[in-house]
Amino acid sequence: MESHILANLLVLALLFVGAPLAFLLLRRNRMWSEALGELWRRRRFSLLVIALYVAVALLDSFSWVGGAGAGEDSLSAHEARSVIDRAFADTPRESSYSAPLARGSFYGDEPLRAPGGHWFGTDILGRDVLHRTLKGVRVALLIGGFTSAITIPLALLLGVTAGYFGRRLDDIVFFVMSTLASIPSLLLLIALVIVLGRGTWQVCVALGITSWVGLCRVARGETLKLRELDYVQAALALGTSHLRILFRHILPNLMHLVIVTFVLLFSSLVLSETILAYLGIGVDGSWGQMIDQARNELSRDPIIWWNITAAGAAMFGLLLAVNYVGDALRDILDPRTLRERA
């Protein structure tokens, strides 16, 4: 099956099954809906910014073949293009650099094909920088999303079972954790990408392998604590099965830690990718790659600033919002404050 159809299905599933489900679950659970309400009160702007990024990423993930090709590019009619790509069908490529909203090319001042049409200018190959920046949103969220899709289940599975059942299993998990944690993560990450090969999946898997330990440690430590708590003992006395205890009593009570850890992890993932991009093993189309491609343009004379600025600002905007939300979440979900608010 064509990969874009798979991606579409995923987007649709996310939009029409995942999102309502999550919404309902949150609505049903007053604890979470209250936390979200509090978050919304405190960080309205940051949440809106993140929502905007997510929307762009979703629009860029939904693509189909057909429709009018983009100008003279006859191939594009045969390719799956996303909603974002189609939105830029009317801003044709230029021959090379042009400044934001310029009417002529940057060198030579020849008239552009879309005078004033490139809000963020064009890059050396004449591609619209806004278009590329927006496409970077999806890559960034993909890096964060896929990595956490690998990291969180793995970390939870190992951390919670190790903490709950203890003994041998705990010894093994703890040993693996200390082994992985003792390797400087950036070096391990690079080694993994080099060995696994280059590509989005490989980078995500490598990021996942290097980042699950932190979360796993948190999950294990918290489970160790929770396991001894009276309500778990009470559940045991009530004949509740281990599986149900794990899912009803342990997991929900460390979810807040997972969420906070994840949110703070997200920014470090995106930042790590820029280093990978600099080393030539990053993800295609990422902001890291844009920055790396553009890093020498600041030295051009006259200076070409819009490429690096666009990518840097887009990344900065996302990470600032994410960090702010993460900060607020940490306060809101802290059980101590929970009790205080009660």
Binding site: F175, L187, L192, T274, L279, G288, M315
Partner: protein
């Protein structure tokens, strides 16, 4: 106590063995020696030369002990790493130990000032922000920290070189020279840029620690006794926050030896970070393996030191 130290060390050794196994799987079982050989020999190398190279580096032997118990790469890997016989670089056959010895000076000359200055600034700024908590200074401080953390170091480096190196001409844009006065010139810019990348997270951490500490009873008591605000912050809060601060500091020390990949390679400092970046760029697995190993060793050592020193210092830490 002795038993505890011994056990902690024993576990450290076990982790070292685990790290080595992981490295072996990564660099020997997954990577193909032919790739490394071709990279080392250049584009015009013939198969014959590649075979010679692989044989001379011992990459043609069986990997695992069950394939050949006497002479296999796994045992060789363990034996070499544990005796610190690091062998030669895959790219140019220089002894890796020598490159490490050459690189550690420049690396420390960057990381130590960066670490010390960063620590002082982060502590002072953290105290400062905690002192003015809930004022606009605090809010601005936290915002600046988050700001600092949200920007890629890559951007700081590019911007720093452009602004300070090129426009303001304060310091050389890049390079290194061990001569005493000149080295300060070379290090000033990378240290400045590195601070931007490091300080944000540290300040936020320290601020949290300090704010938590100022909420405690003894601080209130001290205030009630009429101690000045400055005195409270410096004498009481700072002193009592030492444990979390020390933890973070001690955990950062091992990384001094690994160096900063980006800073060193952009500023042309011939340290261990550059060594690593070169190894990455050249698929020099022999060197990369050693670098990862050294990093892990430093980290494990640091952790053991922290744990043991806790056991000595903090009566609350149980040894069991």
């Amino acid at each position: 106590m002795l038993a505890y130290v011994a056990r902690r060390l024993g576990y450290g050794v076990l982790v070292v063995l685990g790290v080595l196994l992981l490295l072996f799987v990564l660099f020997f079982a997954v990577a193909k020696p032919e790739d490394i050989a071709r990279r080392a020999l250049g584009e015009k190398a013939r198969q014959e030369a590649i075979d010679i190279w692989i044989a001379s580096h011992g990459y043609d032997r069986p990997l695992w002990p069950w394939q050949q118990p006497a002479d296999n790469q796994l045992f060789d890997h363990y034996a070499r790493m544990l005796t610190f016989d690091f062998g030669r670089s895959d790219t140019d056959d220089t002894p890796i130990a020598r490159r490490l010895a050459e690189g550690v000076g420049p690396t420390l000359s960057l990381t130590v000032p960066l670490f010390l200055v960063g620590l002082v600034i982060a502590l002072l700024f953290g105290l400062f922000v905690a002192f003015f908590r809930d004022t606009y200074i605090d809010a601005t401080g936290v915002f600046l920290c988050v700001l600092g953390m949200s920007v890629s170091l890559l951007l700081y480096i590019i911007g720093g070189q452009f602004l300070i190196g090129k426009l303001l001409r304060w310091f050389p844009i890049s390079g290194f020279d061990p001569a005493p006065v000149v080295v300060a010139r070379f290090l000033a810019l990378p240290v400045l840029v590195g601070l931007l990348g490091v300080v944000g997270g540290d300040v936020r951490f320290y601020r949290t620690v300090f704010v938590e500490e100022t909420g405690r009873d003894y601080v209130r008591t001290a205030r009630a006794k009429g101690a000045g605000e400055m005195r409270v912050m410096l004498r009481h809060v700072l002193r009592n926050s030492l444990i979390p601060v020390m933890t973070r500091v001690v955990l950062a020390i091992p990384f001094l030896f690994v160096g900063s990949l980006l800073l060193e390679s952009f500023f042309g400092i011939p340290g261990l970070g550059t060594l690593t970046v070169d190894a990455i760029r050249n698929n020099d697995f022999a060197t990369l393996r050693v670098m990862v190993f050294i990093g892990a060793l430093a980290f494990i050592g640091g952790q053991i030191a922290t744990d043991i020193s806790y056991a000595f210092v903090d009566p609350r830490v149980r040894l069991e």
